[in-house]
Symmetry: C2
Subunit: 336 residues, 2 copies
DNA sequence: CTGTTAGCGCTTTCAA
DNA sequence: TTGAAAGCGCTAACAG
């Protein structure tokens, strides 16, 4: 049979072709056949036709009518960042379980692009959005849409942000990591840290301080603050460090995988390989990191927990008029 | 001024509030003010109002009318897989440059979920979709929509697939990798390979054969085929290998990062650390892989090139009625 | 079980 | 420059 590539079919056409009413077709398509006691024969007729012709309901029309898109938005700084990729993956899982889809945009850590992404998502009528922001989000941007769309912030606790937050316990994770490294290195420990622009980095520094009981003389000398959160910065910090002290500490921790990567590369350059007795602490992890002989302690974030919690807040919030600025803090765990 | 959180505004309301016509508002909103010689004063009035009230055009209504959503879809097996994350990131970049957004879904390598994801995307009226499939996609699924939406397959060249393909040159990449390892190991080389269900893996095996001039006795003994593409499989292959031969070859290559990861972990277990004189070959790469002392040769895929090419084919194809089944093969490069 | 109606917010067309 | 009208495909409501 010559399978002409016909155009897609509307509910009305299905009704015409199967000889039943539009209402009946819609009832069958939306799985309400039982509830409205559509005869089995009729239902089968419609279902067979629908299957044969790959009939799909038009979501644009549906959204327009229902003021609801069954879609949620995600804005993250970088899609290639493994943490955000995992977050997105879990969020997409939540969506699928609930028959929703996920629209994703990235800001590249640029407030302008972030704002643009948010507007695009809003214009597309997302029912909710999850944002890992790179600025304190302006409530005005969302104000006219807040009745229809929920907003949840993740990962970064900008002060004064007017929306609920779901984030890892960066501070306590850092405190525990620092404590372990202190114990195992006899306090011969250095923290290579990116410039603390991001709330998450700031909290890690606080956790570092906490581990020293806040006594400034104890922690101040053990932290090195660099520039942007990039490998080159980690490398630079290590180079400076070696020039200055001439030798490595027993333990070294880095504020992010980026910094760690640069630091380790620089060590390989300087020593030919990573000195095996260096104890390493870091945030987040990659599978291959376990391959070097060194002892590595990693703070692991619970992306699944973050995603599930954010999603739950989103669905709970929808239709709730006033947004209570809740804070869900998700614990981290350790790799070793 | 008490910033009441008013509801979002329609073009009609903007027209009423600013005292101009609907048509004029639309012209301003769509940046056609110049072309239709709207007076500057009028335009400013409208723009000021729009900015103040965060007016956004309703895409659901627009899509319904225009039969076009300015949205494209992406279906991948796993969002956490770094290769697909990079692909998505670059695709999102292409979209942003063209004022589009990206709807993403994952199949978890399950044909049923893939089909479901495709239907969801189609129902949402995407203007095109990029699929990294886990089966030969059925043309029937798309047939009624082909006038409106372009379909491009990436990464996996299933035989008989009825859509254009954009993929890396897996075969030639594998051939060159194998050749290098042969040269540097005096042919003392082993290929640990996942069960060749995926076209990409099959092509890598072909490339491996190519490097031996296809002489079966030469390559057959140097390949070990395992099960699923998972770390545990790589570990199992190494364990079996060591039991069987008692020692490692000079060079070892793996069909994917997954397999490599498991293999290396197993080696660390068996030997306490990765034997330093083992030459390693692999496909794809992670930053931390460079940290072990071993010589590592990696085949690097050009995700940016794949994304750009796929996107270009998509935009070229839209409105082109008949889909020519083109094949764009993107070269790989090497890390070392 | 079925038919009809109105309308979601936008764009296009045509006239003024 | 502006106004009016029709219609994209769907849903909800209600009368039959």
């Amino acid at each position: 049979m010559g399978t002409m590539e016909s155009s897609f079919k509307t509910i009305e056409e299905v009704a015409a072709s199967t000889g039943v009413s539009i209402t009946t077709v819609r009832l069958v398509l939306n799985g309400q056949a039982e509830r409205y006691r559509i005869s089995v024969a009729t239902r089968k007729r419609v279902e067979a036709y629908v299957e044969e012709h790959e009939v799909l309901i038009n979501h644009a029309a549906r959204s327009l009518k229902l003021q609801r898109s069954d879609t949620i938005g995600l804005v993250v700084p970088h899609l290639e960042n493994a943490f955000f990729a995992r977050l997105m993956s879990h969020l997409e899982g939540c969506c699928r379980e609930h028959g929703l889809m996920l629209l994703t945009a990235s800001s590249h850590e640029d407030p302008g692009q972030e704002t643009h992404a948010i507007r695009s998502l809003l214009a597309r009528g997302v029912d909710g959005m999850v944002i890992a922001p790179c600025q304190t989000p302006a409530r005005a941007l969302f104000a006219p849409y807040l009745k229809r769309v929920g907003v949840i912030l993740v990962d970064r606790a900008y002060a004064g942000a007017p929306f609920p937050l779901v984030a890892s316990n960066h501070r306590e994770g850092a405190r525990q990591l620092t404590q372990r490294l202190r114990e195992q290195s006899g306090d011969d420990l250095l923290f290579l840290c990116a410039k603390p622009r991001l709330p998450s980095i700031r909290e890690r520094i606080q956790g570092f301080q906490d581990a020293f009981g806040g006594v400034e003389s104890d922690w101040r000398s053990r932290i090195r603050i660099g520039g942007a959160d990039l490998p080159a910065m980690g490398a630079g910090l290590v180079r400076a460090l070696l020039q200055e002290r001439g030798h490595l500490p027993r333990a070294m921790m880095c504020s992010s995988l980026m910094v760690l990567e640069g630091a380790l590369e620089q060590l390989k350059t300087e020593y030919g390989q990573i000195p095996q007795d260096l104890l390493i602490g870091n945030f987040d992890t990659e599978p291959m990191l376990g391959l070097i002989p060194n002892r590595v302690v990693s703070v692991i974030q619970d992306e699944a927990g973050l995603a599930r919690t954010a999603f739950a807040r989103l669905t709970a919030q929808s239709g709730a008029e006033s947004t209570r600025v809740t804070r869900d803090i998700i614990p981290c765990h350790f790799s070793a």
